[in-house]
């Protein structure tokens, strides 16, 4: 089983998986190859569904250690453990439509997730007062861009300052869109480069096999 610790084994798997997924997309292939492609994609989804259990087991272990060592705030670990296991037991045992499961979702998950992002409004507002200082040409451009779009977005702005609307539309739909297009293309090129590097066995850290560990085995 020493081949399981060799980098070459995983590179072969990566190449085979990549070929079975790329080739049917670009060429006409026999149905058997397409079936393997579909199976590989389905398998990736199934593996992802099991992977969340790894995170759950790891977090349970971490919280138990925190409680045992009585670190500051250890009792909050009981809250995390208790609620997460309660969700799992109720959800899997009694069903995801059970009233307790729905209660825990509505009482903690939904408001928590909403609030975490809603808090950003307050930080963005104080950033508006502190960061948008017009002390150079660049900062003036930054502030102007933000100002015009803020005026257009608000119905009151459209009403009070109607000439800001076409300028803002121009900035949003052409200037900012052009710049964002560059980001999109760069991201796409980066994704392709990552795929090629993975294909060539240069990014094995992504599969948990880094050069350092392999050298130790040799």
């Amino acid at each position: 089983m020493s081949f399981l610790k060799r980098k070459e084994f995983y590179v072969v798997i990566l190449i085979m998986v990549s070929l079975f997924i790329y080739v049917p997309y670009f060429f006409q292939v026999p149905q058997a190859i397409t079936n393997i492609e579909t199976w590989l994609i389905d398998t990736a989804v199934v593996i992802g569904a099991f992977a969340v259990w790894v995170g759950f087991i790891t977090s349970t272990r971490r919280e138990i250690v925190r409680i045992q060592r009585r670190r500051r705030g250890w009792f909050y670990g009981i809250i995390i453990l208790g609620l997460s296991w309660a969700m799992v037991i109720v959800g899997l045992g009694l069903g995801k439509t059970h009233v307790i499961f729905e209660f825990l979702q509505r009482a903690f998950v939904l408001p928590g997730d909403s609030t975490i992002y809603a808090i950003l409004v307050f930080y963005l507002t104080s950033a508006g007062a502190r960061a948008f200082r017009v002390n150079s040409f660049e900062s003036a451009l930054l502030t102007l861009g933000a100002l015009f779009v803020l005026l257009k977005q608000a119905p009151l702005g459209e009403l009070l300052i109607p000439w800001a609307v076409p300028i803002s539309t121009y900035l949003e739909n052409y200037v900012a869109m052009g710049a964002t297009r560059v980001f999109s293309v760069s991201l796409a090129v980066g994704a392709l480069v990552l795929a090629i590097r993975l294909f060539m066995g240069q990014e094995l850290a992504l599969v948990g096999l880094v050069e350092r560990a392999v050298r130790r085995e040799e």
Binding site: V46, R72, S84, G112, Y170, L194
Partner: protein
């Protein structure tokens, strides 16, 4: 309102305004409680819905026609091998499903990106600028082409910036500043919309939502203030590291 609705209202208000207490600038037990409760329930939710997918979609697929769907059985085995990651002695076995999932994920993600992210975007940038009779259309087309070109030159890191390239680089930088201002406003719009939709749940109707919100916020603010000013040692004990 029944007990379920009251319970949801009470605990959701506690969670929401407990998290908002971070804005006070003081570490406080309300925030710690809300944070840990949210994280615990969110983890549980992920586990339940992911496992439900296996039992609702994958297992019935095998059961209905085991002869035809035997490869799905191998998928389940690979998924179960993933769980071996939790132990150091078996982590090398878990690398096989990780490799398959990573390879498949990146291949699936990148193959279509070639068209949507590169070819279609370049095609959309090649716009007509000659024989265009409408002045506004010409302005818009020129704007898009020049913005894309200038911002691209800003991201050249391997060439020395001199002459026209340096000018294009500077113009690209200015376009980026304008674009970031626009992006800030769009982000602010989004987050503000979220805040408004979120707070509306706790402010309307006057009873019981608004009444409960005001009561809970007052209790949280006063208790945090008292702990911070009068009992700082107790406050430190009640907040995590």
């Amino acid at each position: 309102m029944d007990a379920f609705a009251w319970g949801v209202l009470l605990f959701s208000t506690l969670t929401t305004f407990g998290l908002y207490m971070i804005l006070s600038g003081v570490d406080n037990p309300w925030f710690a409680f809300a944070e840990h409760a949210f994280v615990g329930c969110a983890i549980g939710l992920s586990i339940v819905v992911s496992t439900d997918y296996i039992f609702r979609t994958i297992v019935p697929r095998i059961m209905t026609d085991p002869g035809k769907n035997w490869p799905t059985f191998i998928s389940i085995i690979l998924g179960l091998m993933m769980l071996l990651r939790v132990s150091k002695s078996t982590v090398h076995i878990a690398r096989i499903p990780i490799t398959i999932a990573t390879g498949a994920g990146i291949a699936v993600g990148s193959r279509a990106t070639l068209f949507s992210g590169i070819i279609n975007q370049i095609r959309a940038t090649i716009l007509p600028i000659l024989n265009v009779t409408d002045t506004w259309a010409l302005l818009y087309n020129l704007t898009v082409i020049l913005c894309v070109l200038f911002v691209f030159t800003y991201y050249f890191y391997t060439t020395e910036m001199k002459g026209p390239l340096r000018t294009a680089n500077s113009i690209g930088k200015y376009i980026l500043y304008l674009a970031f201002g626009v992006l800030f406003s769009q982000t602010y719009m989004g987050r503000l919309g979220l805040l408004l939709g979120h707070l509306e749940n706790y402010l309307t109707p006057y009873y019981p939502d608004f009444f409960l919100t005001v009561t809970i916020v007052l209790i949280m603010v006063v208790s945090t203030y008292l702990l911070h000013k009068r009992y700082p040692e107790l406050l430190k004990k009640l907040t995590p590291e």
